[in-house]
């Protein structure tokens, strides 16, 4: 009897249950869609959009009936309670409980209830969905739409993957700075790292975050070589690049001394001509007879450091050569003679003849030799002054 009475109410409340079931299962489906699509986009899987859409449809279709039968299918008692909310003062609920009671009072109660039911419209039973479910569904739809939009744009290659975006925009940029010795060699690079250790090699590479400072490096020249400058125009051997804004690859350029310089080096410890006896094997152009006994300058270091062997001649850098009167300390000033002039002229010749060398590099080398020559001239001037002073004395 109750079922007949409740038919229209049951249909209406069942609709509410179906709606709730669909909403709840759609919430779960939308959640799965959102997670799948967003994860796929982030990790660069283009099929994630379709998987997510499949999950949405599948979960909604699977869970909706489940939720309806387990949670939202209206029972007779639930319907009675809902109908009583229309102002029937628990008549329907009591009637349901007294359905099989044959007593007179139960019968009167049923009559009273049916009479009261006749006075209400079943459409007054409102299909009500809890605010929490509606809000959850709304959030789910919002998330789902966002995820579908992102997924679609990613599939259409309009936006990059999440990982790319993060690495480009979120993670700090780094640049590689390479300091190396140019192919001609002649030196090495020392890099001073944060822990104050340093290592020496022909090439140093360091990764620096944008805007930060690179470690200091020093170009160290080998024997018989001189540091000319860095390939980017920096002339100081020691350098530290600050506020790094891009990748960098610079070479330290070293130049080997000229051959005659080397010869001069070999003769640097030779006694000046004024102390030297002419020897038979001396030829006109100053070349050494291989059979002749060696000059002190060509002997071992131990021999060279012996003042007796030197015959009172100076030693050390810029020492005098066999062929000139330079490298002598006269009145506290070192006389370099024409060593630098020779080197300068040879360098200038080479610079003029070497077409493969960069013009900037040529200028740098030329400036360097000019500066040496100026220093040499100064020294010569001082020396001259000293001599004049000495002469005066």
């Amino acid at each position: 009897m109750a079922n007949n009475v409740f038919k229209k109410y049951r249909a209406r409340i069942a609709r509410e249950g179906i709606l709730k079931s669909i909403l709840l299962s759609a919430c779960i489906g939308l959640g799965a869609l959102s997670l799948t699509v967003l994860f796929s986009w982030f990790f660069g899987f283009k099929g994630g959009l379709y998987v997510g859409l499949g999950l949405l449809v599948g979960l909604t279709a699977l869970l909706a009936p489940l939720f309806y039968y387990k949670l939202y299918r209206p029972t007779t008692k639930a319907i009675a309670k809902r109908v009583d909310e229309l102002g029937l003062e628990e008549r329907v609920l009591t009637m349901v409980e007294l359905e099989n009671d044959p007593s007179y009072i139960a019968m009167r109660q049923r009559e009273d209830t049916l009479k009261a039911l006749g006075s209400v419209d079943h459409m007054l039973v409102k299909i009500a969905v809890s605010a929490a479910l509606v809000i959850t569904f709304g959030v789910g739809v919002l998330l789902g739409c966002s995820a579908i939009t992102v997924g679609s744009l990613y599939v259409a290659d309009v936006i990059p993957s999440g990982v790319s975006l993060v690495s480009e925009n979120v993670l700090p940029k780094t640049f590689t700075l390479t300091y190396s010795v140019s192919s001609s060699g002649g030196g090495s690079i020392v890099m001073y790292t944060d822990d104050w250790s340093n290592e020496q090699s022909v090439s140093e590479e360091v990764i620096v975050t944008e805007g930060e400072d690179a470690p200091a490096v020093l170009a160290v020249e080998d024997d018989k070589h001189i540091f000319v400058g860095w390939s980017d125009g920096v002339t100081e051997a020691y350098r530290q690049d600050v506020n790094v804004k891009g990748n960098m690859d610079v070479q330290a350029i070293f130049l080997k001394y000229a051959e005659n310089v080397e010869d001069a080096e070999s003769d640097r410890f030779a006694p000046p001509d004024i102390y030297r006896e002419p020897r038979d094997n001396d030829n006109q152009d100053g070349e050494t007879d291989p059979d002749a006994p060696p000059w002190p300058g060509s002997e071992s270091t131990e021999q060279l450091q012996d003042p007796e062997n030197l015959g009172g001649g100076g030693n050390g850098p810029g020492g005098a050569t066999q062929s000139d009167m330079g490298n002598q300390i006269i009145d506290g000033q070192t006389f370099y003679g024409d060593t630098y002039e020779d080197a300068h002229s040879e360098a200038m010749d080479r610079l003029g003849s070497d077409e493969s060398m960069d013009d900037g590099l040529k200028d740098s080398i030329s400036d360097y030799y000019d500066s040496i020559q100026q220093d040499s001239s100064k020294t010569g001037d001082g020396e001259g002054e000293g001599e004049s002073e000495g002469g005066g004395d």
């Binding site: 003062e89 628990e90 609920l93 409980e97 009671d101 007593s103 007179y104 009072i105």
Partner: protein
């Protein structure tokens, strides 16, 4: 077995009862309704109100309308239990032998008006305990059954506390309802004065005999109560206990001792009568909510915090109803929905309530206009 005739008779009788009472008692609709419900349900009523609001007249009118023997006991400090129950006296028979003969007291009537019940000593007050619950009186080891139907309608004045003895909990629990008798409204007051200027005579006619009243009780007892409604009513009673499984926050905060199981019985019995009077054949949540005030207000023992904050028992009952409704996902009663708990609490903090602080905090009665406006059924504030 209830028949159609019983239902019809109940309806006619209840209508006649109210009509006749209305002839003698002006206004006090809720109090009259509550008293009649209690009488049909077989419960005792404690009427509380300031002097002159018609408590005694109401009880006398009830006695006349129900056509039952009526006895009035004026409770005073020197009243003895034997004055209530009766006692054995020595009488000489025809042969000149002296024997004890029981002289029944006024309690051996059907309707007892215990006027100013709180003025008697606890010893005398307790003389009514057995009569009120078991409807028997034991004197000198002999139990005597009282006449049925038996009612005790007691009155007490909440203002004058000097020389009074607050009713013990056991005595209070035996009253089905505690009804607050408010001051009449202006219109009611005008009607009262107009009526009494003509004659002070009580004109109500008897319309219901004792047997009919018992039949009405029997009929009302057959009214079904849905399991959900019964559960709700019992939850309401249990929720007044601060340490019960369904204790409410209000009970935890303000109540020292909640309602007894007798309250649950009274609530359901009265709700059945109320439903039938309203022409309904089932008990509704609204019946339970309306009757919760008169049933529970004198059964709740307030704690110090409630007394200190001047929270009335009615306010606590309101809070309990609100919480239980919320817990059961039921719509809150209209009276509570319109007056939030905070407002109910404020209603207890009236000048009248302040003027009459009681020892146990249960006599928070207010008689000013503001409180009267907030009163609903059965004088609930």
């Amino acid at each position: 077995m209830v028949t159609e005739n019983d239902i019809k008779q109940f309806s006619e009788l209840s209508n006649n009862i109210f009509a006749q009472i209305k002839r003698d008692v002006i206004g006090q609709k809720e109090v009259v309704e509550g008293t009649v419900i209690a009488m049909i349900a077989g419960g005792n009523v404690l009427l509380e109100g300031v002097p002159g609001v018609g408590k005694t007249r109401l009880v006398r009118t009830l006695g006349r309308v129900f056509d039952l023997p009526f006895a009035r006991i004026q409770f005073t400090p020197d009243l003895m239990p034997a004055d209530v129950t009766g006692t054995n006296i020595i009488v000489k028979d025809d042969n000149g032998n002296s024997t004890f003969s029981f002289q029944p007291g006024p309690v051996f009537s059907n309707i007892i008006l215990a006027d100013e019940i709180n003025r008697a000593t606890p010893k005398t007050q307790s003389a009514l305990l057995e009569a009120m619950q078991e409807h028997t009186v034991t004197v000198m080891g002999v139990s005597r059954k009282l006449n049925e139907p038996f009612f005790v309608l007691a009155t007490q004045n909440p203002i004058e506390q000097d020389g009074t003895y607050p009713l013990p909990e056991a005595q209070m629990d035996r009253f089905m309802f505690k009804l607050i008798v408010p001051n009449p409204s202006l219109d009611e007051l005008m009607s009262i004065v107009s009526l009494t200027q003509k004659t002070m005579a009580e004109v109500a006619d008897p319309v219901c005999s004792g047997e009919q009243l018992l039949k009405m009780r029997e009929t009302a007892n057959q009214i079904p109560v849905a399991e959900e409604v019964l559960k709700y009513a019992m939850m309401l009673c249990s929720a007044t206990h601060p340490d019960s499984e369904c204790a409410t926050e209000a009970a935890k905060k303000y109540v020292r001792l909640g309602a007894s199981p007798r309250a649950g019985q009274a609530l359901i019995s009265a709700a059945k009568v109320m439903a039938l009077i309203k022409g309904r054949y089932n008990v509704a949540y609204s019946d339970i909510n309306d009757l919760a005030y008169p049933v529970l207000r004198h059964r709740i023992k307030l704690n110090f915090e409630a007394i200190a904050e001047r929270v009335s028992p009615d306010a606590i009952v309101g809070m309990v109803i609100s919480e239980v409704c919320k817990k059961n996902k039921l719509p809150a009663p209209a009276s509570l929905a319109s007056a939030p708990v905070s407002a109910q609490k404020e209603s207890a903090e009236t000048p009248a309530a302040e003027a009459a602080p009681s020892e146990n905090g249960e006599e928070d009665i207010s008689d000013n206009k503001n409180n009267k406006k907030k009163r609903g059924l059965f004088g609930k504030k």
